[in-house]
């Protein structure tokens, strides 16, 4: 597997990498030194993400530099400079203040990818409230559950999203005091009852806002992620995370001051916040934001027209581009591109190689997750690529592989010591805690947080192995969580929604391998007596799930199965269903009990 190597010759297109030598940087890097690249609040007032991302540029020579160039759905372009973003986000912070929203309280954003989202994000952080972006493709149920768990005090959204997804669940959210509508024709007349017109409020608000003292350990961001069981988990991140956002932008994305950077992820997922919003702004570069959905032609036109230099995207998108053919890529002048990175799920070696042929550049896969807040393992501009590998740990990050026991738990000796796997041996990817963007807890669930650490390591849940040169290779998930189009989906959340349908007695949900999405969500359902598993019911169930969960989470496939496999304690054996789906040996089924 390690036969193919894409060597780095030392000659680079456009700019010399920030990190010239991996080993040397690793030896000299400290988080303390990384922190010195940031300003900190004046008068020793601490560290605030919005100050580093906006205020310091707006009060310096980059004031008139374009911070965001937003491409609307219909191709219209809107530019906002650092100075303008500073002013607008200050107005937003003043709006929150006037409404009585307190520092530390959660402000949710359910927004399309527009300038308004950046304004809300930076304004919320200036006010020291906690930003929690939600994916606009979620259905009402995932939105409701996350807002409930997060105790959302304010919500920023559009009139359409409010009507479709929030109005119907509003009475289940007693802690939600303020709904601010923005965009579309929000300001053309009175909005629905219980909502406020954000544009009107921004227009009346003061354009100056002084950020209050911010402890680097103050909560700044809340990102929800999914586990195998139970409700979604709200990973808490603090203002100090900006040190990681800056350092990883410099090292793993190779951001330079004059870059035009396009991160294609939606801010409803952690990548779209850490690298779609914060990292490029902290570096003072121009960030491209596309409100529109994926379209191969549109994406190539965007790369060419906007002269994108650094591009951070996802395997599903790259595979869809690959499917559209290299000839489409070659019709566009992509010569300004200097560095391409990908995250979300392992990038197949063919795609890495395709990048070189079609785009003229290899694609640099990297690995991280919601809990880590920033890139942890990566392929770098200066380092040879082994296609299919996620690369090597960032300077400042200590990663290892821990041996798992027969119960799929990390093996812990009687002395509490864990066992590190040898070269080539499979185990769980683990990280030594202490980097700035590490999550500080799961909101309201300290027990689950504690159980993420064993023997002084944070357990990622991903199975990997490490080769003799320290490159990490993804093997699979260590649990039942599904990864579709780079997004984590908790099977329990989907099963719960399916079981609300009157025909469904029980549901088991797995990820089925898919050439484009990595995995698609597939549900096996047992029907109540009197229902027949026919095509009509199948479509009804799919529509039912999509209405509640949204397209990104709902199953795309449904199979009727009146005999789902259970353990003797009554738990559904998702892994057995998956093994059957893959045609694999079913493994140890000694605890299997098939109920009549």
């Amino acid at each position: 597997m390690q036969g193919n190597v894409i060597p780095k010759s030392g000659e680079y297109r456009g700019a010399v990498p920030n990190m010239a030598d991996y080993e040397a940087e690793r030896a000299s890097f400290t988080w303390e030194k990384a922190r010195q690249a940031l300003d900190g609040l004046p008068k020793g007032g601490g560290l605030n993400i919005a100050h580093e991302a906006v205020v310091r540029h707006a009060s310096g020579p980059r004031r008139d530099h374009v911070a965001i160039r937003c491409i609307g759905r219909h191709g219209e372009r809107l530019e906002v400079t650092y100075g303008e973003l500073d002013e607008r986000s200050s107005r937003f912070a003043n709006v929150l203040s006037a409404l009585g929203v307190q520092p530390g309280e959660r402000v949710f954003a359910l927004m399309p990818r527009t300038v308004d989202l950046f304004v809300a994000a930076m304004g919320t952080l200036k006010h020291r409230s906690v930003l929690c972006p939600l994916f606009a493709a979620f259905g009402p149920e995932p939105i409701c559950q996350r807002m409930e768990l997060g105790g959302g005090r304010a919500l920023i959204t559009t009139p359409t999203l409010y009507r479709h997804k929030v109005a119907g669940i509003r009475d289940r959210l007693p802690e939600l005091r303020h709904v601010l509508l923005v965009g579309e024709s929000a300001s053309s007349g009175a909005g629905p009852d219980g909502t406020l017109d954000l544009d009107g409020l921004l227009g009346e608000a003061d354009a100056d806002y002084e950020i209050g003292a911010t402890d680097p350990e103050d909560m700044a961001l809340l990102h929800f992620t999914s586990g195998t069981t139970g409700k979604p988990k709200g990973a808490v991140h603090v203002h100090d995370a900006v040190v990681s956002h800056y350092a990883t932008g410099r090292i793993a994305l190779d951001l330079h001051a004059d870059d035009v950077f396009w991160c294609t992820a939606d801010p409803g997922w952690v990548t779209g916040t850490s690298y779609g919003i914060i990292s490029p702004l902290v570096h003072g570069v121009t960030a491209i934001v596309d409100e529109g959905d994926f379209d191969a032609q549109r994406w190539y036109e965007t790369l060419e027209r906007e002269a994108v230099t650094v591009w951070y995207t996802a395997p599903t998108a790259l595979r869809m581009l690959m499917q559209a053919g290299a000839s489409m890529a070659k019709e566009h002048d992509l010569s300004r591109l200097r560095f391409i990175a990908s995250v979300g799920e392992p990038l197949n070696p063919e795609v890495v190689v395709w990048g070189q042929e079609a785009l003229g550049l290899p694609i640099h896969d990297n690995w991280w997750q919601t809990e880590t807040g920033g890139i942890m393992v990566a392929n770098y501009a200066c380092m040879d690529i082994r296609p299919g590998s996620m690369g090597r740990p960032l300077p400042g990050i200590e990663a290892t592989v821990l041996v798992r026991d027969e119960n799929d738990a990390v093996e812990v000796g009687a002395d509490g010591v864990v066992v590190e796997a040898g070269v080539g041996q499979e185990g769980e990817l683990a990280l030594r805690p202490g980097w700035p963007s590490m999550f500080r807890g799961y909101l309201g669930n300290p027990e689950r947080y504690r159980s993420s650490f064993v023997g002084g390591w944070y357990l990622s849940g991903d199975l990997v192995r490490r080769d003799e040169d320290g490159y990490f290779w993804f093997v699979g998930r260590g649990d039942d969580v599904i990864k579709s189009a780079g997004h984590l989906i908790g099977p329990f959340e989907v099963e719960s929604a399916m079981m609300e349908h009157p025909a469904v007695a029980e549901a088991a949900v797995i990820g089925k391998p898919d050439p484009l999405l990595g995995e698609v969500v597939k549900a096996f359902v047992t029907l109540h007596a009197g229902y027949e598993g026919n095509e009509e019911l199948r479509l009804d169930l799919i529509g039912f799930a999509r209405t509640r969960l949204g397209a990104a989470v709902a199953p795309r496939e449904i199979a009727f199965d009146q005999h789902l496999p259970h353990t003797s304690s009554g738990k559904i054996m998702r892994r057995l269903l998956k093994a059957r789906e893959l045609g694999l040996p079913e493994g140890d089924t000694s605890t299997l009990e098939v109920r009549p």
Partner: protein, 80 residues
């Protein structure tokens, strides 16, 4: 293919991709993806369904032309 046939085909393809979606609620020039909450993969499946239903080969570069109801109708009725 007539306008009505094109709409009928769109409805039947959509019923498989997104059974909950109601084409009647979408304005002629509105983005299908936005109005019906279709993600990129849904849209791709929808376009493939249209191609299979008509026998027309729809290249990736034409996908943007199919973004709206009126766009789909124009494309499908003018093909061949």
């Amino acid at each position: 293919m007539t306008n009505d046939e094109a709409l009928q085909l769109m409805r039947s393809v959509l019923a498989k991709v997104a059974p909950e979606a109601d084409l009647g609620e979408v304005a002629a020039g509105e983005s299908l993806q936005e109005a019906l909450d279709l993600d990129s993969f849904d849209f791709l499946t929808f376009v493939i369904g249209l191609a299979e239903g008509t026998g027309i080969e729809i290249p990736d570069r034409d996908f943007a032309k199919l973004a709206t109801v009126e766009g789909c109708v124009a494309y499908l009725t003018s093909a061949h």
